[in-house]
Symmetry: C2
């Protein structure tokens, strides 16, 4: 159906994939509905090729995997989406052409389609509720493939226009705060002083404060002090 | 909107997630439209709680991440979806409550929402086309979380009602084929014999043939032999 094709193209574009092959599409993949559903991924629709059989569509490929949630009575490796993505990335580097078969929204792939594949991809999902629509299946496989193509950083601190304060700058702020607290009579008991100092230093030294944030803290404390 | 909420519930159910919190939903999340869009995940909609502010919705949580594709001028760790999922899985084991903030379909999260989060989740997607609809964002984060909860096998050969043939059974089939070829005069040159034998053995020994498949091969070859 036109909308499903358009949404699948959108998901492909999200994941940097470009080559869409359609086997006997029921609707015109260049219809207004399809193009609207593609949400600016219409290039993929215009470049898509249509075929009259799955055999024809995969003829030039060297490795093909089928996506199916239903259990099939066929002897075939079942691979995770992650493994499939890594496998395709490795094969692509060796200039081997790979493809993924997705079935129509309701009926899915036929057994005749599945037997053409080297492997079946099993997307790990809640077994009690694993039905995905077509574009979501495309998105999950595409996402796993995209991850193999990108150097990923697990965590990075975004600081924008300011930079992380040095430990010295942060410690100077801590000292300013401790002196102020001392002046205000917060450290009457020596043992309390040490505990409070350590607690406060932990708060500010653990977080990677930016220079701007330290300025904000100085400003806020001075405001409070003046009002007291 | 009702449909987006329903589809988000469906994606949550796909990933084994159950607790949906809605901040000032525009439409009724228990409307027919929402329930139809949830595609049998209506339990999540019936159990959903609504709040009048994001602050209220996250009040009891101990760690919160915001999903946003737009660049924000805020000092905040930007983490990958995979890292976020692992982080939440670890925290959940320690009984710490975690949540993910998703913004409305068009406008996304406000800066006021984003500043409440411990981190921003960056879903790795094609930077030239990274807009996802709400349910797809929920699906990708949920999928990464589901993967942390499940013992995953990268590859397993599904054989259904039959079992993998032993090497002995496979080799006996190879010997049967080699003898037949010899009888048919395929090995007139000794050097050709060795090469052909090695090629054929590679084909059948490399693939993990099942007992049933070996029976099928015996049957097919006997049919061809009788007709010749």
């Amino acid at each position: 159906m036109a909308e499903n094709i358009g949404m699948a193209a959108r998901a492909m574009m999200n994941c940097g994939l470009a080559e869409l092959r359609l086997v006997c599409p029921k609707d015109n993949h260049l219809s207004d509905k399809a193009i609207a559903a593609s949400s600016n991924a219409e290039k993929i629709l215009f470049d898509a090729k249509t075929y009259s059989s799955t055999e024809e569509a995969i003829a030039d490929l060297q490795w093909v995997a089928a996506t199916t949630a239903r259990h099939r009575d066929q002897t075939k490796p079942i691979i995770s989406a992650e493994f499939a993505a890594q496998n395709m990335a490795d094969k692509s580097k060796k200039m081997q052409k790979c493809g993924i078969l997705f079935g129509p929204e309701r009926t899915g792939l036929t057994n005749q389609d599945v037997c053409l594949a080297n492997a079946i991809i099993n997307i790990p999902l809640n077994p009690k509720h694993c039905s995905l629509n077509l574009s979501q299946a495309v998105l999950l496989i595409g996402y796993e493939f995209y991850k193999t193509q990108k150097e990923m950083t697990a965590q990075v601190l975004e600081t924008n226009h300011t930079e992380i304060a040095s430990k010295d700058t942060t410690l100077k702020f801590c000292a300013f705060l401790e002196n102020l607290l001392s002046d205000c009579g917060a450290f009457k008991l020596e043992e309390k002083k040490e505990k409070m100092t350590i607690n406060l230093r932990n708060i500010f030294m653990r977080t990677q404060l930016t220079k701007q944030e330290i300025d904000t803290l100085y400003g806020a404390i001075k405001h409070i002090y003046r009002k007291s």
